[in-house]
């Protein structure tokens, strides 16, 4: 597989949220607005790419039996980095995402790529894979966030398009489930045509 395919597969064909349905907790929890979705997506992309590189570098030194705990420690370290950086430079976003920042550690996508890809491939391919999957995740989160923000408050990225409030329920919990359900159904339909 060449590197371009390696990168683009995460965007639609194997999109972690819309096709593989992994990491649903942060997806539903943080997409109350497009900006929050994008922020969470980029934070996860960073963790995913860095942990993929490091895991790929040390893959030959880690005994098979303890590989999962070792991966988790590597991932948790990068999550801590993100946590501290965000707390320092983007306190408003950190406040909004709250609990879901430390929970990147248990995001199935990160451990899933470590186990399925980075533990078997060279560092460079692993980095591309991490970037592709991460951008796919960020893309899905931003789209879902935009839909919910638009349906809920008539705005996208805080830019008002329709005045007044629309269906507030889409910003609340039930709207998250319903919007994601339909988004996955639409993606399935689109995928058949590409």
């Amino acid at each position: 597989m060449n590197q371009i395919q390696n990168f683009t597969k995460g965007l639609l064909k194997e999109n972690p949220i819309l096709v593989q349905v992994l990491g649903t907790c942060p997806t539903l929890g943080v997409t109350t607005s497009a900006f929050n979705g994008l922020g969470m997506g980029l934070a996860t992309t960073f963790v995913l790419t860095m942990s993929n590189i490091v895991i790929s570098l040390v893959r030959d030194f880690i005994p098979d039996k303890v590989r999962i705990p070792a991966f988790i420690v590597i991932i948790a370290s990068f999550v801590t980095v993100v946590e501290l950086v965000m707390q320092g430079f983007l306190p408003a976003l950190y406040e909004q995402l709250g609990l879901f920042i430390p929970l990147i550690v248990v995001n199935c996508i990160v451990l899933g790529r470590a186990e399925a890809f980075a533990s078997k491939n060279k560092p460079f391919s692993s980095m591309i894979d991490g970037l592709g999957m991460g951008f796919g995740f960020a893309l899905a989160l931003t789209v879902l966030g935009s839909i919910r923000e638009f349906l809920g408050s008539g705005a996208v990225f805080n830019v008002k398009i329709i005045p007044g409030d629309l269906m507030l329920v889409f910003i609340l919990a039930p709207g998250a489930f319903i919007a994601l359900g339909y988004l996955i159904a639409i993606t399935r339909k689109l995928k058949d045509h590409i």
Binding site: A76, T80, E83
Partner: protein
């Protein structure tokens, strides 16, 4: 009285799955049948309660005195992973019956964000140990309640005619959305 408020708040008002979005993966994944849902809920109750006690002790007696609170994420996830592994080994030895009922769910629980989520929330809310334990049990009950309810609905959906594109996960998510809508009726209760 405050214990009752914690319980009602965690089970109905701020349900961990339907309002806080924690533990969605097992919620969607193992909610096809009521017996599996009950098994998963049992395993989660066990692990969340134990994990909350241990992580609370570690936070208060190790991380806080040493001033290394920033290591919270790494420390907690390691404790939970180790704990799940240990529970698995002990259950296998002491109670093969319970192990055969809960065993298959245990490995899945390490990556269940509800466990880490409740452990971190307990610290964030500044609970003491007893409040923390009540909070953990209440949240697991909320998780089990939502899971079993949802499994009951899904058993019925299985025999319904669902449009091709909505089969499986999408219809499950929309159903969960409607269930969450029903749970919103509890808001303002506490």
């Amino acid at each position: 009285m405050e214990y009752i408020i914690i319980i009602i708040s965690a089970v109905f008002v701020n349900n961990i799955v339907l309002a806080q979005f924690l533990g969605i993966c097992p919620f969607i994944g193992v909610s096809n049948k009521i017996p599996t849902a009950l098994g998963m809920s049992g395993a989660v109750l066990f692990v969340i309660t134990l994990a909350t006690i241990v992580t609370w002790l570690v936070q208060v007696y190790v991380l806080n005195p040493l001033g290394i609170q920033f290591l919270q994420t790494i420390a907690f996830i390691l404790i939970i992973a180790g704990l799940v592994q240990m529970v698995e080994i002990i259950l296998k030895k002491l109670s093969p019956g319970l192990y055969s009922a809960l065993g298959v769910f245990l490995p899945l629980i390490t990556t269940n964000c509800a466990v880490l989520g409740v452990a971190i929330l307990t610290i964030q809310k500044d609970f003491n140990l007893i409040h923390g334990v009540v909070f953990a049990i209440a949240n697991s009950l909320g998780f089990g309640f939502a899971l079993v309810l949802f499994a009951g609905i899904r058993e019925h959906i299985e025999i319904m005619e669902v449009p091709e594109g909505m089969k499986g996960v999408p219809i499950a998510l929309v159903t969960a959305g409607i269930l969450a809508l029903a749970f919103m009726g509890f808001s303002g209760l506490v």
